[in-house]
Symmetry: C2
Subunit: 504 residues, 2 copies
C-alpha cells in the first residue's frame, strides 16, 4: 500500500524551495519548458493569469494618459552601438539574425542562406528602435510629451533559465516616454513605479518596497532606476518592476531634439518602465503553499469551482439543477470589475482527485454540492488560502461571496506583509550583517537572513563583503528614509538606508 504524501507538492518549501517552485508550476499546469533552449510554453491556466494582469495594468496605463503602439521585433546592430552603457549591458546575451532564408545543405537537411548586410538583434528591450522613431516624431515642444506603451515579447539569451523568473524569451510591457523637461520626466518615472506598486499590492496582494537602485544596479544607460522589491517565502528578494529616468542619454545618442517655446533646440528627456511575465513567478512564490498554487481572487482566472457530487443519474439531475441555479446567482455578481468566474467540474473522475486538482491550481473558493447539502439548502465551502472548510447556508453564501473573496485577498496580503516584517532586520555593524546572512537554522537550513535595512555611504566600499556573502543592495527605499545615520561598514556619515538581500 502506498503511503499518501502529506502534501500535494513534493518537495515542500522547507525541503527544497527551488524544486518546490517548479513542482507548483507543473501541478497547476501553468507552463512548461519547450524544446527551444530557455524558452517556455505558457499554458492556458498560466496565460489566463497573465491576461488578467495585462488587463488591469493596461487600464492603469490608459488611466494615466498612455496609449499603446507596436514597434519592430528587430533592432539593426548599429542602433545598439549608439549608447555605450546600453550595448555593454545587452550585447553579451542577444539573439542575432544573420540570414533571411534556408537552402538545402546537400546532405538532406537545410542551412542558412541569404546573409543580411547588417545583422539584426531580436529586441532585448526597445529604447533604441523606439528612440529612432521618436527622433522623427519630435520636432517641437508641441509634440511633447509622448506617452506610449508596448506589449511585446523580448529575448535575452540567459544561460541559466527558470520558468517565469528568467527565460530567454519573455512577455512584457515597456513604456517609453519623452518629455520637455527633466522635472516632467522624473515625475513620470515616479508615477509609473507608483502604478506598479499599486498593482503589486492591491491586485497581486504582494507587498513591495519602492526604492531607487544604486549606480551599480541601474538599467544600462539610465540616470536613475526605481524598482519595486518583494520578499519571496524563502526570504530572497525579487525585483518585480522597474522605472527608469534616462535623462538625456538616449535622446543625445539618438538625436531626439525639439524646438522649445523660445525657438531654441533642446535634447528631450526620456523614461522607460516595464514589468514582465516574471510577475507570474513572483505571485507563485509569494502565496503558494505545500499543496500548490494559491491565487489572489482579484487575478484568479476562476474565482470559484463547483464540484457536483452524486451517485446515480437521478441524484445527478437534482444536483446539477441546484448547481446551475447557484452558479447563475453567483456569476451575476461582480468582484473587482469582473463578473465572478465559475467553473463547474462535472468530469467523471474520483472526488478526491478532482478536489486536489483544483487545490493545486489555486482556485480561491471550492464549493462541493451533494444530495445531503441540497436537503439542508447548504453548500460545503473550502477556502484555498487557509484550508478552512465549512457547511454554509446556500443563500448566505450568495449574499457573502464578495466579502469572502475580499477576505481571501486581504488575508494573502496580510500574511505576506507579516512574513516580510518578521524577516526584515535593522543592522548597524558588519559582524551582525555577516551573521545575519550566514546564520544557519538547523531546522530550516535553506533559510538565510531576509531583508537587512542598513545605512551605507558608498556601495564601492561594500563590494567585497557583498560579493562574499552573495548579497546585493536591492534599493534605497523612497519612503521613511530621510533621517541620516552611519554606514554599517565604514562608520562614515550616511544619508540613507538601503535594503540588502539575496535575490532572484
Amino acid at each position: 500500500m502506498n503511503k499518501a504524501p502529506k502534501t500535494a507538492i513534493t518537495p515542500t518549501r522547507v525541503d527544497d524551495y527551488p524544486e518546490w517552485f517548479q513542482q507548483v508550476i507543473k501541478a497547476a499546469d501553468l507552463a512548461e519548458v519547450s524544446p527551444v533552449r530557455g524558452c517556455m510554453v505558457i499554458k492556458p491556466w498560466g496565460y489566463a493569469l497573465w491576461e488578467n494582469m495585462q488587463r488591469v495594468l493596461d487600464d492603469m496605463f490608459k488611466a494615466t494618459g498612455h496609449q499603446n503602439a507596436y514597434f519592430p521585433l528587430f533592432i539593426p546592430m548599429s542602433f545598439l552601438e549608439k549608447e555605450a552603457e546600453h550595448v555593454e549591458g545587452f550585447a553579451k546575451e542577444c539573439a542575432v539574425v544573420t540570414h533571411h532564408r534556408l537552402e538545402p545543405d546537400g546532405k538532406g537537411g537545410l542551412q542558412p542562406a541569404g546573409p543580411l548586410e547588417e545583422p539584426l538583434i531580436v529586441r532585448p528591450t526597445s529604447e533604441t528602435i523606439i528612440g529612432s522613431m521618436y527622433a522623427k516624431w519630435v520636432q517641437s515642444y508641441r509634440d511633447l510629451p509622448i506617452l506610449i506603451n508596448q506589449w511585446a515579447n523580448v529575448v535575452r539569451w540567459e544561460l541559466r533559465t527558470r520558468l517565469f523568473l528568467r527565460t530567454a524569451e519573455f512577455l512584457w510591457q515597456e513604456g517609453h516616454t519623452v518629455h520637455a523637461t527633466s522635472e516632467e520626466a522624473l515625475e513620470e518615472t515616479r508615477k509609473m513605479i507608483d502604478v506598479y506598486a499599486d498593482f503589486a499590492e492591491n491586485w497581486m496582494a504582494m507587498p513591495v518596497i519602492q526604492g531607487e537602485k544604486t549606480p551599480a544596479e541601474r538599467f544600462p544607460g539610465a540616470v536613475s532606476t526605481l524598482s519595486i522589491e518583494s520578499m519571496m517565502q524563502d526570504r530572497k528578494a525579487l525585483q518585480a518592476g522597474t522605472s527608469h529616468f534616462l535623462g538625456q542619454n538616449f535622446s543625445k545618442a539618438q538625436e531626439i531634439q525639439f524646438q522649445d517655446q523660445d525657438g531654441n533646440m533642446q535634447f528631450a528627456w526620456t523614461t522607460s518602465w516595464g514589468v514582465s511575465t516574471r510577475l507570474v513567478g513572483a505571485l507563485i512564490m509569494t502565496h503558494s503553499d505545500d499543496d500548490g498554487l494559491v491565487l489572489p481572487p482579484k487575478l484568479a482566472p476562476s474565482h470559484i469551482v463547483i464540484l457536483p457530487i452524486y451517485r446515480d443519474d437521478e441524484q445527478r439531475a437534482a444536483v446539477l439543477e441546484y448547481v446551475g441555479k447557484l452558479r447563475e446567482e453567483l456569476s451575476a455578481q461582480y468582484y473587482s470589475g469582473r463578473r465572478i468566474s465559475i467553473e463547474v467540474d462535472d468530469r467523471d473522475i474520483r472526488g478526491g482527485e478532482k478536489k486536489w486538482y483544483h487545490v493545486k491550481r489555486g482556485v480561491p473558493l471550492r464549493l462541493e454540492v451533494g444530495p445531503k447539502d441540497i436537503d439542508k439548502n447548504a453548500v460545503f465551502v473550502g477556502r484555498r488560502d487557509t484550508g478552512e472548510t465549512k457547511s454554509m447556508d446556500r443563500d448566505q453564501l450568495v449574499a457573502d461571496v464578495i466579502g469572502m473573496l475580499d477576505s481571501i485577498q486581504t488575508n494573502l496580503f496580510d500574511r505576506a506583509l507579516k512574513m516580510r516584517e518578521e524577516n526584515t532586520c535593522e543592522i548597524d555593524n558588519v559582524d551582525d550583517f555577516r551573521a545575519y546572512f550566514t546564520a544557519k537554522n538547523p531546522d530550516r537550513p535553506e533559510i538565510h537572513g531576509g531583508f537587512a535595512s542598513c545605512y551605507f555611504s558608498n556601495e564601492d566600499d561594500l563590494e567585497p563583503l557583498l560579493k562574499e556573502l552573495k548579497v546585493t543592495i536591492r534599493c534605497v527605499p523612497l519612503k521613511d528614509n530621510d533621517t541620516p545615520g552611519t554606514c554599517f561598514m565604514t562608520g562614515k556619515p550616511a544619508e540613507k538606508k538601503a535594503i540588502f538581500a539575496k535575490a532572484y
Copy 2:
C-alpha cells in the same frame, strides 16, 4: 494664393489607388515604415483599432471554447524539415538566428559571436513548434480536443512590403487544434471560417465570400484551406482570413498520437486558423474615401469627436460646460458592448484644420458646438461616411446616437456589398474572361474587371491563362454552389464555380 485641393487625400483612389492607400495611412497616422527592412511601426490610432479587433475576436474564440496560450518565438531548424510541403512554403523567406551574442569587431563596431549549434527560425507560423508540444500533451482520447489560440508576432521575409498588407513582421492570432476524428477537425475548420466571416461582416462591415482554396493555393501542408475573400475598392480581392484542415499530415510528421477508446493508437487530426494585422489594411481599403480613413463605428477607437467653437474666454466657459454635459450623456450609453467613446478636441488650432484632422482619421460622428448652437439647444452634426451635415436638437441627438452609429455601420456594409455585386460577373467562355480582365476603362485606367464567377474543372488546365492575365482562383464558394456546369475554358463537366480575380 494656394488653390485648395478638392480632396484631403492626394492622389485620389482613381488617380493612383496604391499611393492613395499609403496616403490614407499617413493622414490618419495609423502606421509608418521603420528603419528595419519591411517592418512597420503601428502608431497609437492604428494600434487602438487593432486592439478593438483583438477584443472582439478573442471573445468570439472564447465563446467557441478556445483558450489562449503562448509558445516560443523560435523554431529549431530541424522542426521545419519534418513536413516537406511546409518547409518548402516557408524556407525561402524566414529570419534565421545563428548567434547568441555580439563582440567587438576590432574596428570600433560589433560582430555576431557565439554561434548556435542549431540555427533557430523566427516563427513564420507555429504548426511545428506547437505540434511538438501537443505530441507530449496528447496521450489518450480523454486529452482531446485541444482548442488553443495564440496572439503573437510572426516574421516572413517578404521582398516587396506594404504597410498592413504585407510586412516582414506582422501581428496575428493562430489557432491550433487537435481532434480525435476527421469529422470533428473538419467541423472546427468550418466553424472558425464562420467566425471570421461573422467578424468581417458584422464588425468590420466588410462583405466576404467563404470558400475553399484550390490545391495550388492551399496552405503548405494543409489538406484543405478555407478562406474569406473580400473585394477592395480597386476591385482586387484580398484574402482576409484562413482556416486549414491539416488532416493527419502534421500529426504524422510530429507523432501526435493517442490511444482511442478501444485501446488502439491513432494519429490525431489537426487544424490551424489565423487572421492578422492585414485586416487593418482590408478595413482601410474597403471603406476609406478621398478624404481619408472611414471607420466602422463598431471598431472605431473613438465613436465621436466634439469640437468646441468659441471666440473668447467667456464663450469658452459656456461652450465647454455645454460640451461636458453632452459628453456625459452620450458616453453613458453603450454601443456594441462598449461605452460610447468620445474625444473632445479643444486644441488651440484653426477650426478647419481641426475638422479635417478628424475627417482624415475616420471618426464616425463629428459634433461642432458654438454659442449659436447653444442658443438653439442644438449641435451641428457631421457624418463621416456620407459627408452629410445638419443641425440637430441636442436632446434628439442624445436619444438617437445609437441609431445613428448603427446607420453608419449598416451603410458601410451595404455600400461595400453593392460595390462587390456591381463588380462580379458570371463568365462562361475564355474570350469574355480575357476581355473582362484586360478591358481598359478610359476614364479609370487602373480598374480591371472585378470578380469573375466561373465553372472550372481542373486548375492545372487554366494555369497558362491565369498567369498571362495575372489572375488567381480566389476560392470555390461554400454557399450556393451545388449546381454542376461546364468549365469556361475546357468545356469539360464542372462540379463547382470559383471566384477568379486579381488579388493582393
